[in-house]
Symmetry: C7
Subunit: 246 residues, 7 copies
């Protein structure tokens, strides 16, 4: 039982260890990384983008049913990284909250409040023993009526922050390092630059040339406001521009 010696049972349920740690939360982070996928979110000047790998686990799967990018409302979308069924529950609950908000107040839920609601559920599952934390991390994007493009990341601990750019999943650390260098100069990215940076980050951390069919990209722009997915040919044309630029 070597590996348990240090945790001594504090990791079988939601209690503090003598060091003040919540082990089930830490194991949920492991579950996210062990899914083997990496996701990226980047905020441009007038747009905000999520991008991820489209890896079909089995050649016979209908590719149209495999996606990590979900629309929550017409104006808010997200990319989920981690355990797939947990992700679907995560998104379902967010959609219900968004619909309930709209019904109650008569206007659309804003991205920051949506992020707070998602994080609240996660916090509760770290305090009560009745259910395990969800093994999934959500990067959420949208256009705030006042603040413009918004990008949030929520994790199993219930934490959430706004970001200029971020990564999640297996290569989260590598993506973060890559993006930090790019953002040192605080660039004001155009829409094309934002998309291309998302793609090049993925290519860089995965160490592989990606084809349009290996990538999926969701976007919200100040101009259109709506959350949309890029088509495969749109992604392809961005890949071409990216190759030409280098």
């Amino acid at each position: 039982m070597g590996s348990r010696a240090g945790t001594a049972g504090y990791d079988m349920s939601i209690v503090f260890s003598p060091q003040g740690k919540l082990y089930q939360v830490e194991y949920a982070f492991k579950a996210i990384k062990s899914g083997g996928l990496t996701s990226i979110g980047i905020r441009g000047k007038e747009c905000v983008v999520v991008a991820g790998q489209k890896k079909i686990p089995d050649k016979l799967i209908d590719p149209s049913t495999v996606t990590s990018i979900y629309k929550i409302t017409d104006y808010i979308g997200c990319i989920e990284t981690g355990i797939v069924p947990d992700a679907k529950l995560h998104v379902s609950r967010a959609r219900q909250d968004a619909a309930a908000f709209h019904h109650k107040f008569g206007y659309q839920i804003q991205p920051n409040f949506m992020a707070k609601k998602v994080a609240d559920y996660a916090q509760l599952s770290t305090q009560h023993a009745s259910a395990r934390p969800l093994g999934v991390s959500m990067i959420l994007i949208g256009i705030d009526d006042d603040l413009g493009p918004q990008l949030f990341k929520m994790d199993p601990s219930g934490a959430y922050f706004g970001y200029k750019a971020t990564g999640a999943g297996e290569k989260e650390q590598e993506a973060t390092n890559f993006l930090e260098k790019k953002f040192k100069s605080n660039p004001q990215l155009t829409q094309d630059e934002t998309i291309q940076l998302a793609i090049s980050t993925l290519q860089n951390v995965l160490g592989a040339d990606l084809k349009a069919s290996d990538i999926e990209i969701g976007i919200c722009t100040m101009e259109k406001r709506k959350f949309t997915l890029l088509t495969e040919s749109e992604i392809d044309s961005q890949l071409t521009k990216l190759a030409e630029r280098d």
Copy 2:
């Protein structure tokens, strides 16, 4: 207690192990394989088919009461692989959801939404400690009003994907390998080709010549829309054509 040394109790309930694993879900997959049966689902151009072994566990059993293929609505059917009583509960719940949907919205539930509902129940049983996951895998087929023939597979983890073709159960891996080769060229299968491919996949992975009475086949076609079972003589005539073709 040799075999528990590595799991150390994390597998007795629904919590993450230090590696981020959910053991009860993995054991449910074992239960599916240990049932000893294999099922196949294949999407053709204008039809979609499920096929499975009709293995009577006891010669005295009335063969008409032994089936793995269930009608869920007039337009949606499935084949279940794994623990038989779990399969019946699985199907009962799906039928109730389909009926409730019809009652509430006035039109038939579509295959992809039906698949989502089935998967949602499975996810919940992986997050809460009150009940074990069901030891069963469902391949679901139907004709979508917009998308045409649809084929989904749902497992104990709560995952579900659309497929061109897939297998489940003891020889899932062998069936998948066989089908991948056949689908490399992305064939547009006619109804006869679809049925015959399902039969030849079964024969190939089981390494045995199958008689019409050893097989059961369910089908939905664009033309008729309804989910129906092939009769033993229809299967027999397909077996003959298949033998002639080879």
Copy 3:
């Protein structure tokens, strides 16, 4: 604790073992066999029969209060094998379901639906931890309005199948072997042949000459439809015919 080494606690509650097994269900099967009784069900051409041992545990017991055969509705009956009090609960619940069905729909519940309801309760007790499975196996008979004579067997796992003939209890395997030989030629048994085969199966597997008072027999016929018990003198006359035939 030698005998637990292989199960390691997975058998104390309703969870999957690492091999995908549900131990409490397997132990319930043991409880059925350890009751020491054997039951038989046989479907004839125009009738269906259950037969069992009438073994009075104590000479002072009023024999009329000892029976394993129960009427569920006027048209459906069963023989129960295993823990006696569990059997009584099993039958009570079936009667209530049958009455509720009749009240709700205005016609009698059919044998196959009755069998499904009984099996559903068993499945639930294998999935939830709140109660143990019932240690009892039910062979149910009745005349289906469309399908004629019907014979089902339900066990603690929640499985149920239709049968031509079957056994349950301590000598289940021996009875099944004996009956398989007799049914190889797919005989169309008359009422007398059906009853006599039930009796001779019991005599064969128990290796004993049975008297009329040692046996109890329930029957449904196409002609009368009602579920009735043979009187001791009717059984006696069948024993005589059987002796003459040999």
Copy 4:
């Protein structure tokens, strides 16, 4: 922990042991025997009798408050053997059920249905973990409108049977052996014979001459139907007749 080696924890709650045993039920039987009292029930031709020891645990106890014989309805009575407070709960519940039956259907509950209700409660406590089984055995008597004198015995497992005669408690086995010999010839006992046999059974198995104050006897007769207790002088006169007979 020697004595647990064979049960390995299966006896701490209501689950099957690997041998299909329910240990808590077996321990409840031990609790009945360890109460140190023995009870008798005997069915005569036109009457039915329960008899037991009236052992005052403490000389200062008001003897009128010590009894094992309880009236359930005007027409049904019983003798309880085992844990005294459990017996009182047992009787209270039976009285409530009898009263509810009378209120609902307008006629008196019959002895066999009363016996079934008492046994049903016991079965439930062997299936669910929320409460232990009651450590008490009930011998119930009454006159059935159709069947005449009736005698049932219910135990912690939920089993119940009708009897010609039976015993319960510490000397249950000895009483049963004694009564079996007496009933070999299937005697049609008069009221006096029935009462005297009950007394002589007690005297025989306890190996002691009993005084009228050491015995309590309840009776139902075809003539009077009501359940009544014999007075001490009635018992005394039976003791005299019994002594004269020998």
Copy 5:
């Protein structure tokens, strides 16, 4: 862990041990004795009395707030022996039951029914695991409209009996022995004799001369019916008479 070897965990909750024992009930009896006080109840010809020690645990306590004798209704009183807070709950529940009875039926609850209600609560706590048994024994007195003076004792097992005289607490056995000798001749005690016997029993078993302030006495008489406490001077005058008598 020497002292647990024989109980092996059966004493941590409400289950039967393999010997049919309920350990938590036995430990509750220990709790009663370890309180260090002894109580007496005696039934005279036309009165009934409870008496106990008035031992002030701390010299600074206001003696008027220390009592083991409680009025339940105007006509029924009791003395409690064991854990003091448990005693107060015991009495509160009895008072509520008595008030509810009066409200519902319009007349006073009789002593024997009051005793039954108190015992019922105790039985329940020995069958269900949700709460420990109360560590207290109640001697209850009152005048029954039909039966005259009544004396009952209820203990943690849920048992209750009527008594001519009894003791409870640390010196229960000694008090019982002493009283048995006095009651051999079945004396018809006058009111003074009853009170004086209660006092002399206490003095005898405690081996100490008691002062009026060391004793408390409650009484119900046929004449007055009401439950009253003797004043210190009334006790003193009884002590004087007792001293003169010797």
Copy 6:
């Protein structure tokens, strides 16, 4: 695990140990003493007083927010000793009960009934496993309409008594010894004497000269009835008189 050898797990929850002990209650008493404070309550002829140490745990704390003395109603107050947050809950519940009483009956709750209510909550937490006992002891004072000055002490076991004088907390035993000597002659203390005895008891058991700012004192008098706190200058003037008296 040396120190657990004697308790063997009986102290992890609310069950009796084999010796009839409730360990969680005993540990709660330890928690009270380990708080490091001592409180005093003294009943004078026409007044009643509580006094305690005002020890500011941290020099930066606003002293006005540190107190162990709480008003419950205008006429009843108390001093709490033990775990501070438990004390606040204790007081909140008492205030709610007092307000509910007033609302329901239209007059003020009397001190003895208030004490009973507080003790009732404590008893419940010693019988049920759902919550730990509160680690706090309350000395409650007030003027009873009939009985004059009243002083009660309630502890985690649910016990409560009236007192002439008492102590609680770390030096409870020393305070009790000191007060017993002073009360041997049953003094009828004036208001000044009562206050000064409270102060001198604290000084004596703490072995330290106390300043007015180290002490807090609450009082109820027959004259004013209301519960009030002495001001620092009132305490100072009592300290001066006390010094002069010596």
Copy 7:
């Protein structure tokens, strides 16, 4: 298991240890310190201030979404130290309570009552086993209508006190020591002095020169009453004045 030897399981749930300790509460304090941040609260003559470190965990995070300072009502604010998601729940509950209070009573909740409500939730989580304590400490400020500037600190034990000045988090002890020296002379700080002392305390205990962007400061003044945050330039100008003063 070295480090558990002394706690022996008492730290896995909310029960008292034999020494009267509540371990989960102590571990929650560890969780607060291990967050690595330090917060300060200081009460001036006519204002009250909270200050903390603004440490962006990741350079890509949008700094405007990282804060430890929260507005609860227009008039009350706080700084939270410890587990971030716990802090957000803490604040949410406080806001709801404040809104409910305003709705119910028609005026604003006062700082001391707000502090009591926050502490009440914490106490409950130390008494019941259903949820762990929150790993967060709140310093709350506001202007009381009667008492002027108020400063409270609440911790996981449910304790709360008013303070002149205090610290929380990793360097709590160092901050307290530093502030105690400054407050020895009981200074009446002006608004500028209060803010500057908060900043210099942070600089002193962190041993680092802080830039305006490393600090966040919230304030309530008698003049404006509202809780506001200082802008980065306001903090910068205070830093300049502080540097000039030295």
